[in-house]
């Protein structure tokens, strides 16, 4: 079986024939049925038929951990995010809650980020927007882009959106950024000359040494990884993957990674928001 996969792959590298994603259903807290696989959005339908959450490529125990908030280690960080949501900081004497109310009122935000901000004339990630509010609404210090405090806040904002479909806009004012991100996705970087697509489009379902390759979706971010026992942000993950091609990486928060995030997010349009998810 494995041999056959290899031989067939060599001749048809474009689409994997045996994408071994585990057949399972994710129901959160025995309540919310999550969309973890669905038809690919039109913009990528020529490359991939079905988009699949990284959840399907992890082991049974890891999958079970994510299904129950009491077992999901990422939920501790959501609580920390909630504390910070309600905490007054900065020169204006305000907390996030002062203006936005209950964190649950943000349920429609995560699914549409990164999003074009009209006034600023730029595509913003959730991290950028959080820091914009801290700096310009609260008079507080910015949080480090991949810091623990920032991940706590993005975990909170993801958690209140769980079950809603990712739905980032790729047209209109976002289209130039989206195109730039697409180019980065297919660029074969580093001394190993591998692109995101080499591993996450042409080979998902296959093993690369000890790792079971997923589609590299970001609907589950931030992810709690058993490997480093903390929350991992999207750009930290991108950085690790680029580094592994023996390339010079881009910086978290850079224009390149913002564009790449918009593009990768759009490859998950239709999947449920899962963050904070559990991965190994």
């Amino acid at each position: 079986m494995k041999k056959l996969t290899g031989i067939l792959l060599a001749s048809t590298l474009a689409t994997p024939l045996f994408a071994e994603a585990v057949d399972d259903t994710l129901v959160l807290n025995e309540e919310i049925k999550m969309v973890t696989r669905t038809a690919a959005p039109a913009h990528m339908a020529e490359e991939v038929d079905e988009i699949i959450s990284g959840w399907h490529f992890r082991g049974k125990e890891t999958r079970a951990m994510q299904a129950d908030d009491f077992d999901n280690p990422g939920m501790i960080f959501v609580e920390k995010g909630e504390d910070s949501w309600n905490k007054v900081e900065g020169s204006e004497g305000k907390s996030c809650a002062s203006c936005h109310g209950d964190s649950a009122s943000m349920a429609d935000v995560r699914p549409v980020y990164p999003k074009y901000n009209e006034a600023a004339g730029e595509v913003r990630t959730l991290e950028m927007q959080v820091n914009d509010c801290r700096e310009n609404q609260m008079g507080a210090e910015k949080l480090g882009y991949t810091s623990g405090s920032m991940a706590n806040m993005t975990a909170l904002l993801a958690s209140v959106s769980r079950g809603k479909p990712v739905n980032v806009a790729i047209d209109g004012p976002s289209s130039a950024t989206w195109e730039a991100g697409k180019e980065l996705y297919y660029a074969r970087t580093g001394q190993l000359e591998l692109s995101c697509a080499s591993c996450h489009e042409a080979n998902y379902g296959n093993m690369i040494r000890a790792d079971h390759l997923s589609q590299g979706q970001i609907n589950g971010f931030p992810t709690y990884r058993l490997k480093n026992t903390k929350l991992n942000s999207v750009h930290a993950r991108f950085k690790g993957c680029v580094r592994d091609t023996r390339a010079q990486t881009y910086k978290p928060g850079s224009a390149e990674f913002v564009a790449l995030e918009l593009y990768v997010a759009s490859r998950g349009n239709g999947l449920s928001v899962e963050g904070p998810s559990v991965r190994n």
Binding site: K2, K3, T5, G6, I7, L9, A10, L13, A187, R188, T189, G190, Q191, L192, E193, L194, S198, A202, N203, N206, M207, I208, R209, A210, K239, V242, R243, D244, T245, R246, A247, Q248, T249
Partner: protein, 157 residues
């Protein structure tokens, strides 16, 4: 004085695994993806080649290929075809070409080019994420390529 300079140069070269007799990566001649002449001018050592193929720090070929003869190495990958019987399918010159720069044999191949130093997008300094510096060298030295080829030549079914 001249002599000193020469010694220094040889020393510097040998730390990178470069040998005076080596054919430089940019000078390797490919014919239909195959390379006739030994890259180091010397014969390969199959047992050293076996270590390189299995080692995560060296060739790490098993990250992408399965090899039944190396069944004791855990976690073999599925990105490329199993290498069992490679010597039945390919001549030594073809194997040398594939290992040196597989893109000459297979258009757009996902297999890294192990004996190449030019034409990369954002090459890094190994796995640090930083930019490449003057220690940048091919993934395998000429002699390491020869050793790997000698090992692959033993893979018959």
């Amino acid at each position: 004085m001249k002599r000193n300079l020469l010694t220094i140069m040889v020393l510097a070269a040998s730390t990178l695994g470069v040998n005076a007799a080596d054919i430089e990566p940019s000078k390797v001649v490919y014919a239909d993806g195959a390379v006739e002449a030994s890259l180091s001018g010397a014969a390969g050592d199959a047992s050293s080649g076996q270590k390189i193929v299995g080692s995560k720090k060296l060739g790490n070929c098993v990250a992408c290929h399965q090899i039944d003869a190396l069944a004791d190495i855990p976690f073999q990958g599925e990105i490329g075809p199993p290498l069992d019987g490679a010597a039945d399918r390919w001549s030594v010159a073809e194997l040398r070409g594939i290992v040196s720069n597989a893109k000459m044999m297979f258009d757009e191949s996902l297999m890294p080019s192990f004996y190449k130093t030019e034409g990369f997008i954002r090459p890094g300094k190994a796995y640090t994420g930083k930019a490449a510096d003057d220690t940048f060298a091919p993934l395998l030295s000429a002699q390491q390529i020869e050793d790997v080829v000698a090992y692959l030549a033993t893979l018959k079914e």
